[in-house]
């Protein structure tokens, strides 16, 4: 028998992880709730919240609010949650023991979460449009679509860093639950951060989605003021903070993998 003819490939690991995410999604009916049913509910609730607001752009507020609400959890925490599941299933040990760094397994999951998040956003769009009986007026539809996907990527970048916590400790779920609502409000998913007290801003600006969402609102809502420094700086901030998060993820994962081998807590759940 020939030994160790391994062709270890990071790209292949990302694709294998993406494929596994799809298979697990298809095999588990509970996923219908966050990915299909929740966007319908969020879309209808958001439409009812904003329909009596003054102005022509209430549809955009409804779509953005509900769209982000349905997407953010899945994209931001989906990968971390899947890592938590790896602990519960006992699959974290054989996965870490595989030759490819675990970060690439996470990236495959992130890809799937971005795709399923976008599907959720699309469902919200359709629900709000059907409920309102009219299409929203978006000045730059192509730019809006591109930026929409970019918002997902900023959420995913934070999600990768969060996933490292799930590898690090079995208590990551607890930390996530504590921070979830604050993060949701703080990044301006449902409403702009500028309506929060000014002392909340600095913390918000640490997160890439805050910048990207503000940029998205600039693009979608005529006359939107946001933080006041304009669309261009929002975009620069979003790209810059996303790059920082990805760099952190790259270095954190290596250290976290080392730490869990020192602690020996991979099989704890």
């Amino acid at each position: 028998m020939a030994f160790a003819d391994a062709e270890v490939s990071r790209r292949r690991t990302v694709l294998a992880s993406l494929r596994l995410s799809v298979l697990q999604f298809m095999a588990d009916p509970q996923w219908l709730i966050p990915s299909m049913i929740a966007p319908v509910v969020f879309g209808l609730v958001s439409f009812e919240m904003f329909r009596n607001a003054a102005g022509q752009d209430y549809l955009i507020y409804a779509i953005l609010g509900a769209g982000m609400m349905s997407m953010w959890g899945q994209t931001l925490y989906g990968s971390g949650w899947a890592t938590g599941q790896d602990r519960v299933f006992g699959t974290l040990e054989p996965t870490i023991q595989a030759p490819t760094p675990y970060l690439y397994v996470i990236l495959g999951r992130v890809l799937w979460n971005v795709v399923s998040g976008l599907v959720g956003g699309l469902i919200v769009y359709v629900v709000v449009v059907v409920a309102a009986g009219t299409f929203p007026s978006v000045p730059n539809p192509l730019g809006f679509a591109v930026l929409f996907v970019f918002v997902m990527l900023t959420l995913a970048a934070v999600g990768v860093v969060f996933a490292a916590f799930y590898v690090y400790t079995r208590y990551a779920g607890f930390i996530q639950n504590v921070g979830e609502f604050a993060f949701y409000v703080g990044t301006g998913c449902m409403f702009p951060v500028v309506i929060l007290p000014f002392f909340a801003w600095p913390a918000s600006l640490f997160f890439p989605p805050t910048w990207a969402l503000d940029a998205l609102r600039y693009l979608a809502i005529p006359g939107y003021q946001g933080f006041g420094w304009g669309f261009g700086w929002d975009l620069v901030g979003a790209i810059g903070t996303t790059a920082v998060y990805l760099a952190i993820a790259g270095s954190v994962f290596h250290r976290v993998e080392r730490h869990v081998l020192e602690e020996g807590n991979l099989s704890d759940y």
Binding site: D5, E7, V8, A27, Q97, P99
Partner: protein, 328 residues
């Protein structure tokens, strides 16, 4: 020509686990799972590691398979350090931890193997053929496309084994591979393990089953309380505990004088006593053929219910003697 490096080496390997409890006032408990383990396993052999629960077998297996770092000491596999050369080692070693966990239950056995084949870098063009091959080797072809959640414990164990050999490792670590298997499956697993050695794979096997170690492993180490207390061939271990013959005498009680008489018989190295239901059993390890059951019967004359029998010293006897000695 320089001899090949050993497959597995451990020099002074220790491992301490810290467990913490409490939130504001943290209490840290240190548990010494391994205490200075020295071990060398040559290539192409099956090496058996025996030990009671909590002896440190799984900890040592995880250290060798790069899932745990030693607190002190050096461990190498195929001449490479398990702490610093994991990228080189991981494609070359296989690990089967077994049990109910460690698999994706909602997808099929075949999909589980496909996923891990990709992670372990099984050549893409060869992947499907390799999956069929390992499924056949563990006799799981018939259930390959069923969800793992429908598998019995034994089927999951087989799937663990299939995953462990999928990427053709040079060294395979098997942590209690037949636990939970029915006798037929356990026998097939042992056959598979032997065939892997025929392919040149070095196997490091931990087990609770003495007959399994006896059947498979030319060399055995016994781990107790984190230390290797003995390491030899089965014959060597038998000699270590005082002989390959065991004589057993059973009656309703013996006094100290009689036990002392037995100890002085030629070739008797050890006399152990244990309660056996209402009676007492004396077990003697005997080095030579000089002392026979008749000699024992004569030394214990006066017990109407006395029965004496002779048998070969088993690995289980050796194991119990050594582990009990260590416990004392």
């Amino acid at each position: 020509m320089t001899p090949p490096t050993p497959a597995i080496e451990a020099y002074g390997v220790s491992r301490v686990f810290d467990s913490r409890k409490g939130f504001l006032f943290r209490e840290v408990t240190h548990t010494e799972a391994l205490r200075g383990v020295d071990l060398v396993v040559e290539r192409g052999a099956i090496f058996g590691l025996l030990g009671p629960n909590g002896a440190g077998k799984t900890t040592l297996t995880k250290i060798f398979s790069t899932l745990l770092l030693p607190t002190a000491g050096t461990a190498r596999v195929l001449g490479h350090d398990v702490s610093t050369e994991t990228a080189w080692l991981r494609p070359r070693i296989g690990l089967v931890l077994g049990g109910e966990r460690g698999l994706y239950n909602r997808i099929s056995g075949r999909e589980n193997l496909r996923y891990f084949a990709d992670l372990y870098g099984v050549p893409l063009g060869d992947r499907e053929r390799r999956i069929d091959e390992v499924l056949e080797r563990v006799d799981l072809v018939w259930a390959a496309d069923r969800r793992v959640e429908e598998y019995s414990r034994g089927m999951k164990q087989k799937l663990h084994l299939a995953r462990g050999i999928l990427h053709r490792p040079e060294v395979l670590f098997l942590d209690e591979p037949t636990i939970g298997l029915d006798p037929k499956s356990a026998r097939e697993t042992r056959k598979l393990v032997r065939s892997l050695v025929g392919d040149g794979v070095t196997i490091f096997l931990t087990t609770h089953y003495m007959f399994e170690a006896e059947e498979l492993c030319p060399e055995i180490a016994i781990l107790s309380k984190g230390r290797i207390v003995a390491r030899d061939s089965i014959d060597g271990l038998q000699r270590l505990v005082g002989g390959d013959r065991t004589l057993e005498a059973e009656a309703y009680g013996f006094d100290d004088r009689e036990i002392e008489t037995l100890r002085r018989l030629p070739g008797v190295s050890k006399v152990l006593s244990e309660e056996f239901g209402p009676s007492l059993r004396l077990t003697m390890r005997v080095r030579t053929a000089e002392t026979t059951p008749a000699d024992v019967a004569q030394a214990l004359a006066g017990h109407p219910e006395l029965s004496v029998r002779e048998r070969r010293t088993s690995l289980e006897d050796v194991y119990l003697d050594l582990v009990e000695e260590e416990a004392r």
